[in-house]
């Protein structure tokens, strides 16, 4: 969906720069970072709909970053974008809770369609959660403060 917030994580600066521009051209709000640490910091600061994550990075690699993201317990969906060499790690990442994966090099259209799917998934999650919460509030109005300790985080 146009206007979705994307966090692009890849150690190749040229790649993130180009990809940001392509995604911006397609109506997304893109933040590009070049390391796992930076990605986690960004996620702590701001809300994103989809994270596009490279697996092979110096320092904190994609899998470690994914684990950190999971710890933050967000609605944000993660897409793995990897060199072909690490499909097995990509599958591991999916097992750890990433939404899907794509192999480099990929067509921008493929990436966009995956982002859309991920966004939908996130949207569904948010809606489900909200419905559940509304149900809970109806049943017990006092629980409203427990359910929303912060704005966009799951309980």
């Amino acid at each position: 969906m146009k206007g979705s917030k994307i966090l692009l994580v890849d150690d190749e600066i040229v790649f993130t720069t180009n990809m940001s521009r392509l995604l911006v051209n397609r109506g997304y709000q893109v933040t590009a970072v070049n390391s796992g640490d930076a990605a986690v910091q960004e996620l702590e600061k701001d809300d994103f709909d989809v994270v596009v994550l490279d697996l092979k990075m110096p320092g904190m690699d994609g899998i470690a970053t994914l684990k950190e993201i999971k710890k933050l317990d967000l609605f944000t969906q993660t897409l793995i974008l990897t060199g072909h060499g690490s499909i097995d790690s990509a599958l591991d990442a999916v097992r750890l809770g990433a939404y899907d994966y794509l192999t480099k090099p990929c067509e921008i259209d493929d990436l966009v369609s995956k982002i859309e799917c991920a966004w939908q998934k996130k949207d569904e999650h948010v809606k489900e959660e909200m419905q559940e919460n509304v149900q809970k509030i109806i049943e017990s109005p006092h629980s409203v403060f427990d359910l929303y300790p912060s704005k966009d985080k799951k309980k």
Binding site: N18, L22, H84, G85, V94, Y99, Y101, P105, C106
Partner: protein
């Protein structure tokens, strides 16, 4: 198969099975060892026993022979003593007067000869040597013996047994004489022993076909006629030496210069008279039974040794055969191991290279996309530039995809990709592949023919991997027709119920593979294509995939005639692999662990 031009000469350290000669050496060593360990002890024991037996048997036979000789000697002595005793009895119980009476001597003669005609004649002689009375076949009454040797001896000794002599009758004979003293008067009773009867008596001994018995006196003169050569009273050609023991047996070996060569000789000294009894027999006859037993023993011994030798040779040959088979097997395994480790190490390398290439290619793709985005937002008047730009962009996309395919191949080769195992109808699969390739082959003038087994069961395998194998092999087959105006590629399938699998063959009519290259075609980076045409990975990938799918790939080629690749695929994979194919999302996975 396209792209790279790396020609890596991986050192071909194949463990060849040991040389043929070394097996021959092993065979010789084993045989020798067996022979030394079994035949030599057998022969030693056999020969030892044989020598011991020979010694034992020979001693016994010689002892028996000696006993026989001694007994016979004593028998002859006994006979002579008996005759002497009889004469002595007659002389002592009769007076000269009695014996001179007509008929008296005749009576005595007949009485003495009642059992056997031992005595030839009997005579009474006075002290002057005159014949007083005589009974016998010769006319000897008027003979005077005063000067005869025997007469002197008997006058001196009282009893005398003479050697053989001719005497007045001019025939070989010997006498026994006793002296009788009657007051002042002395007279002699003399008897001549029947030579024929005496000889029979002497020779009355079991001595076989080759034996002879005779007597010689101290001068070496025959006292009886020997059986072979010589006659009574002749000089025997043996030296007569007095010996200490009364009886002796000597065994003479053959080729001896002695007249007794090859004979067993027993000797016995008679005390009175001093005659030597000689008993001779051919050695071969004496020891006949012993020799036969020895011969049979040795024949059995050597037959046993021979049978052990034959058995040793057969067992050794069998064992060396087994060793050779094991060696071959080990060498094959080693070759496979080498191949596998080569593939593995190159796989590692490939995975890294592929990853490194994918990143720049991804950037190129994004750059292209950026340009395209920019291009769409820009108004460009020049249609020629527009066309060129778009076609260049397409070409960049095509070449990037090609790069992706190459890295994809490399990664497949490195087995990093996971396979998805599904049920495949190979016939339909082949038809699809043929469809895919037909356009390309037609332009090269090559016909694709299929010969498919209609009763082919479905197999459990990975279709995308198999597709890659077939495409590789068909591309190779097409390339093999380079320089030929036309040709054909025949793809056939056949179900083998015994092997529980399917044989798939791809045979082309191309240029074939040089036999010196046949061993290496599955090696990674081995290619005969010109630089820049082939990576040398195609067949290596095929090999790796087919092995991964528990199958087997073999090649037959005739240079100039064509090449046939035969792939065996099992109906099911024994060890189920976790199935997952490259591009599928998590919702499509068939991996049970996920």
């Amino acid at each position: 198969m396209n792209g790279h031009e790396i020609h890596t000469m991986t050192p071909d350290i194949t463990l060849n099975p040991p040389e043929k000669n070394s097996y021959r050496y092993l065979f010789r060593r084993f045989t020798l060892l067996t022979v030394v360990c079994s035949i030599v002890p057998l022969l030693l024991v056999g020969w030892g026993l044989n020598i011991h037996y020979t010694y034992f048997a020979q001693t016994r036979i010689v002892n028996a022979f000696e006993e026989q000789v001694a007994n016979h000697g004593r028998f002859i002595e006994q006979f002579l003593r008996e005759q002497s005793t009889k004469l002595r009895l007659v002389a002592d119980t009769h007076s000269k007067k009695d014996l001179r009476q007509p008929g008296s001597l005749m009576n005595i003669f007949e009485t003495m000869n009642r059992e056997q005609p031992y005595i030839m004649d009997l005579g009474v002689i006075d002290q002057l040597g005159n014949h007083l009375a005589y009974i016998g076949p010769y006319d000897l009454l008027d003979k005077v013996y005063f000067h005869e040797d025997w007469f002197k001896q008997v006058m001196q000794k009282g009893l005398y047994i003479s050697d053989m002599f001719m005497g007045f009758r001019q025939e070989p004979h010997f006498i026994i004489a006793v002296l009788r003293r009657e007051g002042d008067d002395q007279w002699i009773l003399r008897a001549t022993i029947n030579t024929r009867v005496f000889r029979t008596l002497v020779e009355n001994m079991r001595i076989g076909e080759t034996g002879e018995v005779y007597l010689v006196n101290t001068q070496g003169v025959y006292q009886t006629t020997p059986r072979f050569g010589g006659s009574i009273m002749d000089q025997a050609d043996v030296a007569v030496e007095p010996f200490k023991d009364p009886v002796s047996v000597e065994v003479f070996k053959k080729n001896n210069t002695s007249p007794f060569s090859g004979q067993v000789v027993g000797r016995y000294w008679l005390t009175h008279p001093e005659w030597m009894l000689v008993v001779k027999q051919a050695r071969s006859e004496t020891f006949e039974e012993m020799d036969r037993a020895r011969f049979v023993n040795l024949v059995f011994l050597h037959l046993s040794a021979l049978s052990i030798l034959v058995a040793a040779i057969f067992i050794t040959r069998y064992m060396v055969g087994i060793i050779r088979k094991r060696d071959d097997h080990a060498a094959r395994l080693n070759n496979q191991l080498m191949q596998a480790s080569k593939l593995a190490s190159i796989g590692e390398l490939s995975a890294g290279v592929a990853h490194e290439i994918n990143n720049p290619v991804a950037i190129i793709m994004t750059e292209r996309q950026l340009l395209l985005d920019q291009f769409q937002q820009t108004t460009i008047e020049d249609p020629a530039f527009k066309d060129q730009f778009l076609s260049s962009m397409d070409q960049i996309a095509v070449q990037s995809q090609r790069c992706k395919r190459i890295t994809h191949n490399l990664l497949r080769f490195s087995r990093r990709t996971r396979s998805m195992i599904e049920s495949i109808d190979l016939n339909r699969f082949v038809a699809e592949v043929v469809d895919l390739m037909e356009r390309e082959t037609k332009t090269s003038g090559i016909r694709l023919l299929t010969d498919l087994d209609p009763d082919l069961p479905a197999i459990q395998s990975d279709s995308s991997q198999l597709q890659q194998v077939f495409l590789n092999l068909i591309t190779n087959a097409v390339d093999a027709h380079e320089g030929k105006p036309y040709g054909s590629i025949r793809i056939s399938t056949r179900y083998d119920a015994d092997a529980r699998g399917i044989f798939l063959s791809i045979a082309d009519t191309g240029t074939g593979i040089d036999s010196k290259h046949l061993d290496r075609i599955f090696d990674p980076f081995f290619t005969t294509k010109p630089v820049g045409k082939g990576t040398g990975l195609g067949l290596s990938i095929c090999y790796s995939i087919i092995r991964q799918l528990k199958g087997n790939i073999t090649v037959k080629s005739e240079p100039g005639e064509g090449t046939e690749f035969i792939i065996f695929l099992p109906l099911t994979l024994k060890e189920k692999e976790n199935g997952e194919s490259g591009q599928s999302g998590p919702d499509k996975t068939s991996d049970p662990s996920m």
